[in-house]
């Protein structure tokens, strides 16, 4: 606690000290500090002016920033969109980029190979060859099925013609010269026919002739027995076989004429007429199946006049 005496002393000390407040900083120090204050003010003014300008520039930059950001992502995105649209249009319009149709034809194939790239050309060629192979395979299968059907028809016709052949055999048996050469029961025409039937489809014309000699049958008879079957076996061979038979008959007739064998001549004439009828029927059948089927004059020469006229009439009608 301060006593009144203490306060009195403090006041006196303060008053006494007041007389000591005479020291002041030297004038050069005052000038220095004043100059420093002035310089600071000038620097401050310059800095503020610079800040004002920079703030104004910043404002302009900030105002321009959204536009620049927009421009920054607008160009790449618009470019990408354009590329996408062009590529889609090109893909839609370019034919070589479309998937290859299954029924591509030979006409389409060169067009495709001309327009597309080498890689696509190779792929298209491979695909085309596969399609060709498939088509050929289908054709083969069709031909096999057709030949199988014809074979079955041939067998059925062979059975129906058995009776006719038996009649023919009985007529041949009436010839003593031929039957005497084959006196054994094993060499009868019936046995020969059986054997021939057993040999089936693999039998060709030469084997037939060998069998004729072996079993004591004439070539004409043997061939005539097989005519129907062989003629029905394959279409291209039918006409050929018939013509071959007719040539053989012609030869036989010449020999029979030389021998003056009238009976044989008559039989051969009958055969010839039968074969001519068969030939005409085959030609007509072929014509029905294939309208473009043409017959050479040589083949027509094997037909008689009536048959030729009938053939010409048929052609005209079609």
């Amino acid at each position: 606690m301060k006593t009144p005496e203490g306060n009195k002393h403090e006041g006196k000390i303060s008053a006494l000290y007041h007389t000591l407040k005479v020291e002041v900083p030297p004038p050069y120090l005052d000038d220095s500090i004043r100059q420093e204050a002035k310089t600071a003010i000038e620097r401050m003014a310059q800095r503020k002016a610079t800040e004002l300008v920079s703030r104004h520039v910043d404002k302009l930059v900030l105002a321009d920033t959204p536009k620049r950001v927009w421009m920054a992502w607008q160009w790449p995105s618009s470019l990408a969109a354009s590329v996408c649209i062009v590529s889609v249009l090109w893909w839609q319009l370019a034919p070589d980029l479309q998937p290859v149709a299954e029924d591509v034809s030979e006409l389409n194939y060169p067009l495709a190979t001309q327009q597309e790239s080498p890689v696509n050309a190779e792929q298209a060629a491979a695909q085309f060859s596969l399609l060709q192979d498939a088509a050929a395979r289908e054709k083969k299968q069709d031909a096999l099925a057709r030949s199988r059907q014809q074979h079955e028809l041939e067998l059925a016709q062979a059975l129906t013609q058995m009776s006719e052949r038996k009649a023919t055999q009985s007529a041949l048996q009436s010839r003593p010269s031929n039957t005497q050469q084959t006196t054994t029961e094993h060499h009868t025409p019936a046995m020969a026919e059986t054997r021939l039937t057993e040999r089936g489809n693999s039998l060709d014309a030469e084997h037939v002739l060998e069998a004729d000699e072996r079993y004591g049958l004439s070539r004409v008879d043997t061939l005539s027995m097989l005519t129907g079957r062989v003629a029905q076996q394959t279409e291209p061979n039918t006409v050929t076989e018939l013509i071959e038979l007719m040539r053989q008959i012609t030869t036989e007739q010449q020999s029979a004429k030389a021998e003056q064998d009238d009976k044989r001549m008559a039989t051969l004439d009958k055969k010839r007429v039968t074969l001519q009828a068969q030939l005409l029927s085959h030609l007509l059948h072929e014509r029905e199946q294939n309208p473009k089927f043409e017959v050479s004059p040589e083949i027509l020469s094997f037909l008689n006049d009536e048959q030729r006229r009938a053939w010409q009439t048929t052609l005209k009608e079609q």
Partner: protein, 225 residues
Amino acid sequence: MLVEPSKQRDLQGLNLREQSDEELMQYYALGNFHAFECLYLRHKGPLFRYFIRQLSGSSATAEDLYQEVWSQVIKHAQHYSVKAKFTTWLYTLARNKLIDHLRHRNVHEQVFDDKLVVGTGFDEKQSDTESSDANHPEQASQVRLLSAEVQYNQAHTAQALKRCVEGLTLQQQECFLLKEEAGLTTEVIAEIVVCNYEACKSRLRKAYVQLRECLDHKLGAGVWE
């Protein structure tokens, strides 16, 4: 000038002498040099004496510290905000400068094995009375203006008081000088010297008691008559 023309006209029309320290500082921050000059004139003496009393015998150092403090004021004027009284801020800067200087000087003297001056008793410095008078010629010239007897008595008493102030401890000295030179209240002094109010009050009381005893010792008890 960075101050806008309208503000500048307002500042020119002001009577700066009537403005508070804080307002003057703000005007200076706005670019008014006269506001700074007014502020400087108010505080240059007390601040200079604040240093010179505590750095007795080293006026050059006191001038350096004094200039550094004002440089800091100028430097930080732009960012000055009125959070406290200007004097509080000014003397806080001054005190920090002084403490930094004394610490540096103590380290320097310890390195060179010199005698520490700060905080020494006033009895040890009594022999330096005449030598330190030469540092203040303006004081002597003022003293000459007084009448011979009064002059002699006052000069003698003032010199004695001066020596007694120099003889205070550093803490007492700064509290006494802040009170007498800057005219600060005990609360503000406590804030500046970073201590509580009671401690600051105690320091001041001890300083006055010690000064009274010192003056009694130097001038005799009749000085208080």
